[in-house]
């Protein structure tokens, strides 16, 4: 019996082509290499182009303009609006940014058709799960982990339930406008989160031995960028939080590949119950998280 081919649409967000000119080719090469049997369409949302811009670049590849109001998050909203009811023709919506090959990238090699096929139809978001050493609070939510939004596969139904990828649009409740102490004293984020953000954007990381490639000195000139970047971090965290709230499972790609391998060997029957992120990251077959995460 012929099995139905997976259909995936990539919503690739870019801000012009100056910084990551090969993003489309890199994604197409990844699909060709790792997902050769997938029916793949791509909508590039360039948020330097005006909303309404539409241009067919190649068969199956369309370039549109998108909103830059909340960076990539509003741009993905533009992409979803562009697709309209066509969204539901796909098995997965693949969110990507042109910077998807920055920082840790080993997980990118782990996506394949078998893994995605096993998870199609479930309420899932499959990507790389990042986490802080300790839980933090954002808008009252206790959170420690998030799925990296530069390369993540989502069920279209979860996109529909979500409504918008943008969670936080205003910095009014968060920022003091003082570069020496950029967060308001009563901002709805915990002290640990403030330290993590300041460390990541302007310091030496989040005590995990990794540093951001574009660190900068926080002063009155860089404050607007700091605030915009921080809102993007909040939106990335809140996307994971809201997905969890709607019952969507965040699936770590490395764990899923490990599990899919066991299913192929017959060790286990299916993905079954998707465990908490702590269990997933500690049972990766490479770059596993520390056992101290477990109960």
């Amino acid at each position: 019996m012929n099995k139905k081919k997976l259909k995936i649409v990539t919503l690739l967000v870019r801000h012009g082509t100056g910084k990551y000119p090969n993003a489309l080719e890199d994604i197409q090469a990844l699909f060709a290499r790792q997902l050769p049997d997938v029916v793949h369409d791509c909508v590039i949302v360039d948020n330097t182009l005006p909303p309404g811009h539409e241009e067919a670049l190649q068969p199956g590849v369309t370039l549109i303009g998108g909103s830059n109001a909340a960076w990539e998050f509003s741009a993905w909203d533009s992409g979803v609006a562009y697709l309209g009811s066509r969204l539901h023709a796909y098995d997965f919506v693949h969110l990507a940014t042109s910077a998807f090959k920055q920082l840790y990238v080993a997980y990118l090699e782990r996506f394949d058709g078998r893994m995605l096929d096993l998870l199609a139809g479930r309420g899932v978001a499959i990507g790389h799960i990042d986490y802080y050493n300790e839980p933090v609070d954002l808008l009252g939510v206790g959170c420690q982990s998030w799925v990296r939004t530069s390369f993540v596969f989502l069920s279209p139904t979860e996109v529909k339930i979500l409504g918008s990828f943008v969670s936080v649009t205003s910095g009014v409740d968060f920022f003091s406008r003082d570069p020496r102490s950029p967060f308001k004293e009563n901002a709805p984020i915990s002290g640990g989160y403030r330290r993590n953000i300041l460390g990541w954007l302007t310091g030496d990381g989040t005590e995990q031995g990794v540093e951001w490639h574009s660190r900068f000195k926080l002063d009155i000139d860089t404050l607007p960028f700091f605030e915009s970047k921080t809102l993007a971090i909040f939106n990335e965290q809140m996307l994971s939080n809201r997905l969890r709230a709607q019952g969507c499972r965040l699936v770590d790609a490395t764990w899923a590949a490990t599990r899919a391998g066991r299913i192929a060997k017959g060790d286990v029957e299916s993905f079954g119950v998707i465990p908490p992120w702590q269990i997933q990251v500690t049972s990766r077959d490479r770059d596993a998280g520390p056992e101290s995460l477990l109960v």
Binding site: G123, V141, T157, V168, V172, Q246, G247
Partner: protein, 656 residues
Amino acid sequence: MTTKSSSPQTEHSDRLSFGSYDLFVDLSDELAMDQAKVMQHARRLLQYCGFGNVGGRINIALPKGVELPTGNDWGRHLAAGNQGALTFDRAVEEAAMRKRGLLVIMGLLLPANEVLLPLWQALYKDPLFGSAQPRFANALTDEICPFPSLHSLGEPAFTSREALSLLPETVITAELLSSCTLLRREVVAAMGASRPLDSVRGALALGLCMARRRGFRNVVSNRAVVSLPADVSASRSTSVQRDQAAAYLALAPAEMTRLLEMYPDHARANMENSRRLPFRLEWLLTAAHPGRSKPRRLLLDCRGMAPIYNGTSQAMIGLLDGLASLKDAQWHIDVQSGAAAAKFHGLAQRYPMFTHVHGEISGPYAAALMPNQPWSVEVVAELHRSALVLIFNILDTIAWDILYPVDERVESTWKFVAAHADGLAYISSFTQDRFRQRFPVKGLVQERVIHLSLDAEDHVTPEYRGLPPSDFVLLFGNAYEHKDLAPTLQNLSDAFPLQQFVVLGTVASEMPRVKAIASGQASDEEIHRLIATAKAIVFPSYYEGFGLPVVESLAYGRPVLVRKSALWDEISAHSSLSGRMIEFDDTVSLVESLGRVLADLPVAVLPASTALVDAQDSPSWRTCAASSMAFVEHCVERSDISDWLDREEVLKLAKL
């Protein structure tokens, strides 16, 4: 650790924020748990679920006999008691003193603390929304546990996540005892002691009753979903019931009695929930949006098919032939028919790829397609209860126009479908125009003209093709006056006294050279042979919806004389059949045209194929079926729950 705003339940500008809350966890019924398991469960709540930031405000009701846990977390993050409802009362008191809401988790549920985002959002919608609950999902499939219902809707089934995405964000309910409930601060403050109820669930039920009588409603958020504890061994069907039992809690009979003594009207709550909760809508939405790789179910309502050969049964058989040839794996088709008609037409043998059903309709279906117009609103209501989307194929409005002996309710039925059907298909533009003039169609109702087959291959029996013409003229019709059969026969007999006539569909005639065959007395084969060998065919009807006999006659290459009508222009324009269609508009023109045909003299014919880009584009039963399925798909894709709910409201008001 946290810098949470000290003002409770302040609405954040992005509408994404928490109010302050305490957490209460009821493990009192988890008799298999010992102290170690309780402690491990508590650590999971803190670490895996993210409730670590509720530190110092977590109370746990322990199973009987389990000693109070000890260790670093206890006292600092957690408090516990093993006095059931009294432990709950203490948690309520503490939350009230701190002016906080209270999240109540019953049993082994491990909800992510993020679920409070949509729960608070639900409470923020209205100051008198007093409690909010999430939906619950099966851990193995992520599908949604349906609400418990007093009325069975057949085999228990999960609600698909696709269906959930189409439901409103929140639903207001009567008091509903579920395993995860967020109580608003004002409700917590108003709750008193739980006596005389002993269990935590009894205490919670009492609290919800008290809140309701103070005006605080319960809301369920369809955007908040909590996974239920997995039960890998359960079969799928049992799993729905197990999940429902885990999600929606029942009181012990003695406690229910006590609660009813205090609040006798609590009995109305279950009735209210049965009335208000959208069980049926979810059931139907799931049929329309079943999830990946699952076919949708279509009900093809062929109950209008009679156990005889007539135009309606011919159109239905044609549609079934077309559907059978499509082999559409996206749809599972149930053919609903009368047992006698099914037997007469051999439906089960002819169409083994479909499921054939008789008697009561058993849903759920994504769509119901009735290949003929409905004759009563009761039938429409029956279909509405079983299918999300209703589509009717309008054949004609002749019955209403000419006072056929039909039920007088036909007028209100057609008005109803013109306003509340999801889709109306018409077998011709001519029929569409007639219907719309008589029953104005509301803007949301989708309409499409889908011609019946005009393909010669669908209408010709090969063994009769090319037979030499005989000398007789064939007249088609029946006893209804709009067919004008008897007067036309008389006129033609008078005009052509030596000509032989065969008349299909009228009572026996005493006229010489006339052979009359009553309706239903001729077999299908005999009719084909007569058409194929007639010298000419006269179809004198004033009023038709499509005129299949005319199409068949043209398919055999016969000249057909028809009374002038826009319908024949349409049929001719969309077909490329070998016969000639010749119009008449009175007796004189009929006699003249027939005389010219019989004498092989030139005669004006209607132009054919003018609406076709390519002659091959002429509709066939296969394209008719494909177009019908495309229309069904279109109606399902564009359907909105408000369409179904509006129809439901109107039918309920009509007590149907």
